[in-house]
Structures are given as structure tokens and as C-alpha cells.
């Protein structure tokens, strides 16, 4: 069974017929060809597939495409090219192997959208749904400080 779905991805309209339980993650990576969004666990634990759904951070592996109908999705590819998080993550040690980085940047973007100058405890909490096995998180905190104009 498939159902018709229409939604916006990074500002462009997408429409098609999908099995209702098909994961948003698969539609993004497959039909939309947006491979910045990664699959790390497939069960909502690692945050590598994090995207914004109407400005709310979600794990796209847990979102059935039926729930996306009529809504707006932003992936890493849809962030403004000059989002300060990009340069900050690259410069401060916020990325190592890079597989968690797109999801981590989306979580950081969601945080900064809510809070212009987060302190460390806000940052820790906002990132606690995104696992990084390389950095020990320190470089990621530094990136968020830098991108929010608080120095490294």
C-alpha cells in the first residue's frame, strides 16, 4: 500500500506515493538523494540522522513518511551555506570521522535557533541525543561557542 505525500525538503516541494511507514531517512537518502543525513543505528539512539521537521529536531529514522505530509524538512544540505556552524566545526576539532557531524550540526542549529548564546550545560543537554565516538565532545562544544560568538 502506498499513500500520496507532499512536503517541502530544503525549500523544494516533494511529492510522491510512499508506503506510509517508509522512514523519512530513506526518502531523504534515496528519492531525494540527500546523503548528508546518515544512518548510525536505525533506532533513534545515535542522532546521525537528525533533521529539522518544522523547526523541531527529529531523528529521521523514527519518522514515518506519512507523518511528514504537509510539513517542512530541513537537512544539513538545506542550511544556509554561510551558517557559522560549518566553519566552526571544521576549525575547532568539532569533526573527526565526520559520520555524526551532519546530525550534530543539525542539533547545534536547533539549539542556536532557540538560544543565541547557550552555556555549557545547555549545550551538553542539547547534544545529549547525538553520539560522537571520536571527539569526546570537547571540540563540538568549542564549535558551538565559536559559532555563537562566545570565542572558543
Amino acid at each position: 500500500m502506498t499513500i500520496p505525500c507532499r512536503f517541502i525538503v530544503n525549500g523544494s516541494a516533494v511529492s510522491g506515493s510512499f508506503p506510509p511507514m517508509r522512514r523519512l531517512l530513506d526518502v531523504l537518502r534515496g528519492e531525494c538523494g540527500l546523503t548528508a543525513t546518515k544512518e548510525g543505528c536505525g533506532e533513534g539512539e545515535c542522532g546521525s540522522c537528525a533533521v529539522l521537521l518544522d523547526d523541531t529536531l527529529v531523528n529521521s529514522c523514527l519518522v514515518p513518511i506519512a507523518d511528514v505530509n504537509g510539513r517542512e524538512v530541513t537537512t544539513l544540505e538545506g542550511l544556509p551555506k554561510d551558517d557559522p556552524l560549518f566553519a566552526a566545526f571544521a576549525a575547532t576539532g568539532g569533526t573527526q570521522c565526520g559520520i555524526c557531524t551532519p546530525g550534530m550540526i543539525m542539533a547545534a542549529r536547533a539549539l542556536l535557533n532557540d538560544c543565541l548564546r547557550p552555556d555549557l550545560s545547555q549545550t551538553r543537554e542539547a547534544l545529549s541525543g547525538n553520539l560522537c565516538r571520536c571527539t569526546g565532545y570537547g571540540g563540538i562544544y568549542a564549535a558551538i561557542r565559536t559559532a555563537s560568538g562566545q570565542g572558543e
Binding site: 543505528c41 533506532e43 545515535c46 576539532g93 549545550t123 543537554e125 565516538r133 572558543e152
Partner: protein, 756 residues
Amino acid sequence: MYTSMHNDSRFGTTPLKDAPLRKDGMEKVRGTARYVADITYPGMLHAVTARTRLPGGTIASITFDDHVPWSEYVVVTARDIPGINAVKMIETDQPVLVETHYRHAGEPVVLIAHPDPQALADALAAVHIDERPYAKPPVFAIEEALRADTRRIAADNVYRDYLMEKGSVMDAEKESCQVFEAEYHTGAQEHLYIEPQGMMARMEGGILTVEGSLQCPYYVHAALMYATGLPEERVRVLQCATGGAFGGKEEYPSHIACHAALVTMKAGGRPVALIYGRGEDMAVTPKRHPSRSRVRLGASRDGRLRFIDIDFVIDGGAYLTLSPVVLSRGVIHAAGPYRCDNVRVRARAVATNHPPFGAFRGFGAPQSIFALEAALDELARMLEMEPDVLRRRNVLAPGDISPAGQRIEGPLDMQRVIGQALEACDYHAKVEAYRQWNAQKGAIRKGIGLATFYHGAGFTGNGELALRSRAGLRVGADGLVEILTSTTEMGQGMQTTLSGIVAEALRIPYEGVAVARPDTRDVPNSGPTVASRTCMVVGAILARAADDLIARLRADAALPSVYGYGEFRDACARLHAAGGVTTIIADYRHPAGNEWDESVFQGSPYASFAWACYVAEVEVDAVTGETRIVDFTAVQEVGRVVHATVAAGQIEGGVVQGIGYALFEDVRFGADGQMANNRITNYIIPTSADIPPIRVLFLESRHGAGPGGAAGIGELPMDGPAPAIINAINAALGTEIRHVPAMPEHILAAMDRRSA
């Protein structure tokens, strides 16, 4: 010396050196780096693996249900293997696909592929492997494996039995000394790289081409030749962007590569993606070896170590894989960086019916160092001596001979390393303050603990000699210098570090150096990307290649003796125009005087060590057993920091993995011997909410064998956190916790034992 304090709540205290941007940074933050799961080819197949379920046995038959349209599928079994049915590693005891006999649950038996990944689950369920158990029950525990009456998995169930001996423990015991004796255990640890393993294989112009997530392209290349029977020139291996590895993508990628290759060969060369889901990855791929150490320490009343006597055993699992070399590193690090005339370390790797354990950052050293460092704190308590004083009294200094018989060369100064660590965290004041605090007997107890240790860089013993690594440089007409190496980037910053080394050696800007993609058709064999060897060993080879390149440009392209970047580029253009040789390959050179006798474990096991003192501060809830690490200090003497951000990232990331090893990461095995909690939901690694401020300080005495005096640092930070944390918990509670991970229930049980 400088400090990195990214993690510190005091914002703005990060005096990192001016470090150039990491080479792979932009593609990773933009999400354009191509990992294996991001690659698609027209007409590609997706493959899955049917596996054994019993912990060892024989396969009587394999049947395929009729309701599946099998003609649409590609099905591969052991009979389809054109070469030898073994995964080439140290030995060849492990089959690529099981034909009859097998040793553990989760061994691959049948591969199934289909263009539609949705069509695989039903087909997999329609494959029936009729398994027959062996008569004797499976063996999962080290002591069971060593008993004579249990199931034999390998000869005597002992893969290797090593002895490192110096002086005479027996004679030392006859002198009057205080003896402390205890047994320590460490659990398995899952790498949990965030990108699961995967490979893509295809035939391209008669050449088997395999690309994927891997650390060691030439290991995969050798395994493919062995299993397919194809000659060297018809096998090509490329690395994709690799989403973390930590040792976990050292040996297992060879298995997946062989599987994907067999499918593509049977499918007429069609591209085949074999990508593991998280659950499969965690259930079947290797983990850190569990260990058991019996430690006996003899010391004079004033705390001088008279003897160190250790019986160290690791669980190798069902096949040999890399256990011999994990074991040898464990042996050499077991007696720590201490002065002691009488040392005996007996070490064995045993066979069990667990899936094989394998390489994981630290490679045997975290296990043996944990046991020694935890025992030293208990010895200090017995001697009524402060743990830092006991260590300062025994730690190696230049001129001393290490337990393995290596003469320690200056200018490194371990006393200074310890001093910096204690000062940075205000150790002595905290010891006193926490004693007073704990005397109140409130619900929260506080403790501070330390560990001192070193970690050898490069392959153990004569390993680097045997590898005979090669790496090179290729210069373009535009002056761009490309590094040619099979060393892989897996997040550790190899592209950045090696580019910095080459730029420095060539005296050109960092931006003028790039790293060629690891591709066995294009890059020489620089050995595997393991063992903290990249900066020190491969970096040194590349620095020599750079010298050769300058000599070539001077001789053949009139490069002036003093040159700017413009003149360098002009010379490169002239070299190209003249049709000169534009690729330089250099070979490994063994440091003079570094001899090693593997038969007695004496000599110089490593060209250099990184030295460290780590301090952990904890708060333990005496009611719930929950431990919170409130502060962590990591001071290391690394010879030289080549790239500040990369080096700090290695230490911080390693410390956090070590925190997980100490407190959270509990691999539970099911009755079949496989990891039962094989999900991120129930195998817990540290999140950003779990970690303390981590203070990272480097000392740079330039003592290392690498460029500019650098030693290797990749594995070092894995060694110290577990003992420092356990020592802090034991200090807080007065307990005798002797294993990791120390989960709340273990801590409560240890408190009960203390009360009893």
C-alpha cells in the same frame, strides 16, 4: 607545554596553537564526504548474510524454501569460493564462509543478494541452516577454556603462551618485602564507531574493485587475492570516507570485502553493496579482548618495587585473528613504566566460543595497565603510602632499564609529567579535602585517583622491520604535492598531520599538500593504519621522501638552495616539462640499536613511547552506586605535538572512550556467546551529558622517533582513564573494586563486601 581545555566550563580558556584547518574538515561538515553507504551504482545488488546460530558445531545441510523466487537472487555458499576458503590474517584458521565445521554463533554461511533491498528479509528467513552441536558444551570463560576436560577449540585452547622475564621473582621473594596479591578483570568493549561496517564490490574491466569502510587497504587486498585466487593486478581496494574505526575496521573489513567480492563474481561483476545494520555489526564484529590478570607485587617498606609477577590471560574468542599481537603488547605494558629488577609476566591468549576478539585502540595494553595501576593503589594502601608517592618512587627515568630491557633515553622526565598532572588538578589539596568530606559519611562520597603509564608507538618488536613500509610523494606541474600512502583517514586526523609534516619538510605552505585517496592501484603499502604508528613511522618515511624530492628538484629542475614557494612551484613545472620522475617513494628505516628478541621478550620493543599521568575525580552516590566523574586531567609527554587540534582531539576522544570502558560499556553475552545487548539502546557509551571537564596538557621534549621528535599518541589515552577512575572510586569508598566496567551494582556489592 600548552593546554587544551575545550571541555572546561570556564569558557575561553583554549590556548591552542595556531593550527591549520584539517584537510577533511570541510567535506565532513558539509556532508559531502562519501561513505560507503552513500555510493550507488546503476543495477547494484544489496547483499545480506545468513549465519550460524549455535556456538560451534557442524552444518548438516542448507535448504532454501520454495516460496522464494530464487532465480531473482544471487546466492553464494562456500562452494562458490574460487580461491582458498580462509580469511588471510596472521593465520588462516577462519573460513570466509562456513562449509561444515564452525566455532561460534554468527559465522557467515550463505550470502544472498537482490536488486531490491526490501526483498532480502523474506529470503533470509527462507534459508535454513541445519546445525548440529558438538558433544561438549561450549566454552566461554577463560578458566573453563584452560581446564583440560572442556571442549577443545584450538590446541590446548591456548593460541599463544608468552613469558617476559627479567631478574628473578623467586629470589626477590626470599628478601624481606611486603607482598600484595590480587586478581583483576576487564570486560569486552565494543568500538561503536558510528558508521557500521560495509563494502561495495564490482568487477571493472576484469578487475575486482572493492571500496569501503576500512583501516588497512593492503590487508583487504591480500585477503581478496587469497580467497578469490585472483592475481595482485586484478584486485583493487579503495577506502571510502570511514566513519570511525578505533581498531574495529582493522581485520573484519577483510571478511566483508571477501563476501561482497564473491557475490559480484557470481553475479557477473554487478556492483554489490554489503552494508551491516547496527545490530549485526555489534553481534558479529570483534571487540576488545576480555582479560584476567593475577598481579603479585613485592615492595620494600619504603615502596620500592622488588618484584612484579603477573599472570595475564586474554580471551581470544573462536579464531586466532590478531590475538598474538594484542597479547604481546599487553605483556610489554603489563609491568608499566616502572623500575624493577625482577619481573615475570606470563601471558596467554585462550580460545573460547565467543566470536573472535580483535584490535581495539590500546591493543592489550589497557587491560594489563588497568590491572597493574589498580594493584599499585592497593599496594600503596597496604604500605600506608600515598599513591602518587609510590609511583614517583618507582617510575622510570632516563638511564633506567624498562621491564622489557629497554634503556630509557632522555630528555623526557616522567617526574615532571606527574608533577604537572597533580598541580593542574590541585591533587594534594583535594585528597585532604575529600578525606574530610567522606568522614561525614554523607550519601555522596568523593575520590581522586591517578594512573601513570606509557604506550609504545609503532608495531611491537620487529614488526616494523617485517612490514617494510613504503610511502611517497607525487608532485604536479602546478606544484601540488600529493602524499601517496595506504595509511587511511578514519577521523584521527592523519591527512592533516601528515600534510603538516610534509609541508614542513618541503618548506612549503600546508595548503600546497594534499593526500591521495588510498587506492592499492595508486599508493604503496605503508602498512596498516594502526598501533599509533602513522605520525611516527609513516611521518618519518614521508619526511625522508620530502628530502629526496628536494634533492631531485635541485638536481633535475634547478631548485635554488634557498627557495620560496613560487620557486618551488616553478621547479615542479620544469621537472614536469623535462619529463622527469615526479613520484618519489621512500622506505622504512629501522632506528639504529632497536633490537628485539621475541623469544624472551627482551630488547627494545618500541622505538618510542608516549608517557602520561591521568587523574580522575569522582563523586559516588553511596546509596545508588552511581558514579559521576567531575573532573579529569590528562597530562602527556608526547615528544612533539604536530597539530594541536588533532592531538587534543585524539586525547579527549580517547579519554571519553576510556571513561566508557571504566563505567558504562558492559558487553553482555547471550547463551550463544554473541553480544546480547547489541544495540545502542542497551550498550551505553558516554554522551555529552556524561562527561566531565577534561584538561589536556602536552609536554614536548622531542624524544620521539617521529618527525621533529614526535611519538605516537593515538592509543595512549585509552590506557589511563579506567585505572584512574577505579582508583578514585576505591579512594572514595574504601572498596576493592578490581574490574571494569564498574557498574552501579558492582559498586554497591563492593561496598557490601567492605562492610562485611
